[in-house]
Subunit: 503 residues, 2 copies
């Protein structure tokens, strides 16, 4: 007879297979599925979610967990297996609290909500979306009711994306940054003429954008034997296994950099999943550790690497090759500046590095209002517009460009948004640490030699998957907790360099 | 409390979701998955199969089936529900009769056999394949032992693909055709100069083939809201639901008609799945009725419609538009003839409409020899070559072009082959019946107006899905049992028209 650890590992391998199968159902739905397949697909996703939930919360899991924990306590099991037992216990405890029926309702409401949102956004019709949104919020509140609330009910939702993080901790970090961010934004607003993307405001053929996007991804580390890149509405990364990484991007003829930086961003997510140790495949450890850590990787590749002067120098000749007419008269510096225009704007996913933080702070604060203070969903458009005015100084002309812009709430994801900005903050910490270890970091980017950068990430972060908690993992990669200072320093230096120092 | 019928229906809806999810895992693997995703995908497919098998054979299914049958006996349930109970009973009985261990052995031998066969075929090495083939045959015989044999043990295997059909019935149909087929083949061999595809033996760009293929599929009834068409190695059709139909084809620069007729063939399978009544979605009735019925639809669209003079007339201008240079000097008649070259050849999947039947008869008779008469697998090459000489008058130069050409036996599929030819035979019956109901059938094809043809198929066949047995369903669509006469008449008329009447 094998050990309980072995039996638990085998059971969780089946669970992992179901999870990855669910990823494929969703990836396919969002990327290539014929639209009329939607209703049946919602059932399929719900069924896989229910079956994986049943597997996770089953009596057999409880029995094996108890026995495996006893084995671990008596010194049995490798380190991976010990981590597997810990993470399975966490996932189990979170799942047993939630009735299978509620899990199924949440999944179905998410699929239905997505379909409704797609139309509502296209038609700028918030009232059409409202019932689906209210349903999602109600289900999230029922989800929270399954748990003991320590400080804030919102923490229960945050914990889904970032184990152990609280809204109090998030507010402390965001509040540390806010006083620095607003003056920087005021400065770039005052000096808009300093940096321009006017040169790039013209059509670039979609075929050419695809070519440049794939060229770029391949320079970074994309390999068709293990990766795909497909067009979709809302760019995302998804994996079906450590060796099957899928990126999506979107192509807009009038916005070359939108597709390009979406691809680079999603590559950052993908390389994290792809460099997890193969020892962790088919275990609950075989994924990224948390959303903040995940987003730190996508932001790192998108901003620290992709929007650097050195990367602009690497990219410029490729653009000139694919778009010889369009690029006539441009220089690497034109390209660098155009990539780094900073300007308050309406759409989060098109926001620049500097103003992005406030887009998140708006969403974070609204989520707190809804979950902690009982704000009604019908009040969201007005509250949204007020905060956009307050933080970014801009007027929101309609809901399509406002509260309807993001997919997350349509799929019932609440508590996810703050991790985006925390990712940027952590990325700045990682950049500082990596620059200490790789003194020629900027030369490597200029030369397009990304292998040492990937290897550093693999060694210090990627390979661990979910072996350790997010806080332990952040400690491993940057040697301390989340810290806003490197981000403030990085952002201030970048604004100084592009727009000039404070008067 | 709902009825047992309701509970069974709900349970089988989950089963259906798992089956469709398995379809997506396989479609993705064969079509667009990055190659390195293979090992993890194999685990995912196995897990979904295991979970759907457990759901089907579980004690709860047995209990619900007994109770639902009692309800049906007392007059409860709609017609759909009564059919659902019957079909679930059949699927359940076939699944529980076979011990899980034997199912596992068969699956493993199939996977091993496939790997061995791939190499053996490449190296023309039958002895290397023989042990795997013998293992598959032995396991199929043990499979047969799980069932009560009425007439022939081979019938147990045929029943996997065509419920209720016996080898005695198949032989009666094939024996009715054989005396007519051989003289027709002799005639086309004597008059090879009458019909030529020489004009088309040149490169046609892959992009152009894709364009013509999609144009053709859209004329037939392909709608991107519910369908996809993707390139792959071996063309197939797969569906993820009634509203999500996926066709694959392959593009060979030097064989325009290969991709085109693969697309039309797979469209025939797809329109069958697509026109099943939506009432049957998420039930075990929501699929094609049998392999013969499915193949009758693909052959109908490929041969009766696609290879008709009227269709050539429709297609010719489209080809001339997409390939203006290549098509210079051609006429609709050039196109029609090139689509219909008949000539004995070695490879089944490249065979023309006329000689195809004998490729199947060879395989069918050899399967009978092995299962009914104890012929040894080691005798297959000699027996194969002798029958190819006898029926098609050709010498088989090696086993790669002979007994090793098909994948089926390597994966333990025995009893499948006859349904291919039975599909052609049934397609001719359907053509005759449809022509009686739609007197302007040929005009409709010439005009590219396929809606009345699809509607006839929907009304008389497609909508029923698996509600009735294959024999009942064939009765519904053609008003009688399988009958070789319409096929003989159709084939004779076509040979007469292309190669001239008998001397």
């Amino acid at each position: 007879m094998g050990t309980a650890i072995d039996a638990l590992r085998e059971r969780m391998a089946t669970y992992y297979d179901l999870t990855m199968t669910g990823s494929l159902l969703t990836w396919d739905q969002l990327t290539i599925m014929p639209i009329n397949g939607g209703p049946a697909r919602a059932h399929q996703i719900k069924t896989i979610e229910m079956m994986s939930h049943q597997l996770l919360v089953g009596d057999e899991t409880a029995r094996l967990l108890d026995a495996a924990e006893a084995e671990v306590a008596s010194g049995k099991g490798s380190e991976v297996e010990q981590c597997l037992v810990r993470v399975t216990r966490r996932d189990f405890e979170r799942a047993v609290r939630v009735p299978g029926e509620l899990v199924g309702e949440i999944a179905k409401a998410a699929a239905d909500g997505y379909a409704v949102w797609t139309d509502a956004r296209a038609n700028d019709d918030f009232p059409a979306f409202l019932p689906a949104l209210e349903k999602n919020i109600e289900l999230q509140k029922r989800y929270i009711d399954c748990f003991d609330v320590a400080e804030s009910p919102y923490d229960v939702l945050i914990d889904n994306y970032e184990e152990g993080l609280t809204s109090a901790e998030i507010s402390a970090v965001f509040d540390g940054i806010k006083p620095y961010l607003r003056p920087l934004i005021d400065r770039v607003v005052d000096r808009q003429e300093a940096v321009s993307d006017e040169f790039f405001r013209k059509p670039f053929s979609l075929a050419g954008q695809e070519e440049v996007g794939l060229w770029t991804a391949e320079r970074l580390g994309f390999d068709p034997a293990s990766w795909r890149l497909d067009p979709t509405v809302h760019p995302f990364q998804s994996s079906m296994s450590i060796q099957d990484i899928r990126l999506t991007t979107r192509y807009n003829e009038n916005d070359l950099f939108d597709s390009l930086f979406s691809t680079v961003h999603e590559f950052g997510h993908g390389i994290y999943e792809h460099q997890i140790s193969m020892d962790l495949e088919r275990t609950p450890l075989g994924g990224g550790c948390s959303m903040t850590l995940h987003e730190s990787q996508s932001r790192f590749w998108e901003n620290m690497i992709g929007r650097s002067r050195e990367f602009a120098g690497l990219l410029h000749p490729a653009l000139a090759r694919v778009f010889p007419e369009e690029m006539k008269g441009s220089t690497p510096e034109t390209t660098y500046k155009a990539m780094n225009v900073m300007r308050p704007s309406l759409i989060r996913v098109e926001a620049d590095e500097l103003t992005y933080g406030f887009h998140i702070i708006v969403r974070y604060e609204l989520e707190r209002e809804i979950i902690e203070n009982g704000m009604k969903a019908s009040d969201l458009p007005e509250a949204w517009n007020a905060r956009m005015k307050q933080y970014l100084g801009i007027d929101v002309p309609n809901n399509r460009l406002g509260v309807l812009q993001d997919v997350h709430w349509s799929a019932g994801s609440i508590g996810y948004f703050p991790t985006y900005f925390l990712g940027s903050i952590l990325a700045a910490q990682i950049w500082k640490k990596m620059a200490g270890d790789l003194p020629d970091l900027r030369d490597l980017i200029a030369a397009g030699d990304f292998a040492p950068i990937r290897e550093w990430q693999r060694e210090h972060l990627h390979r661990y998957g979910r072996m350790y908690t997010p806080k332990e993992t952040i400690e491993k990669v940057v040697g301390g907790p989340l810290d806003p200072q490197p981000y403030i320093g990085y952002m201030t230096a970048k604004v100084n360099s592009l727009y000039g120092p404070a008067a």
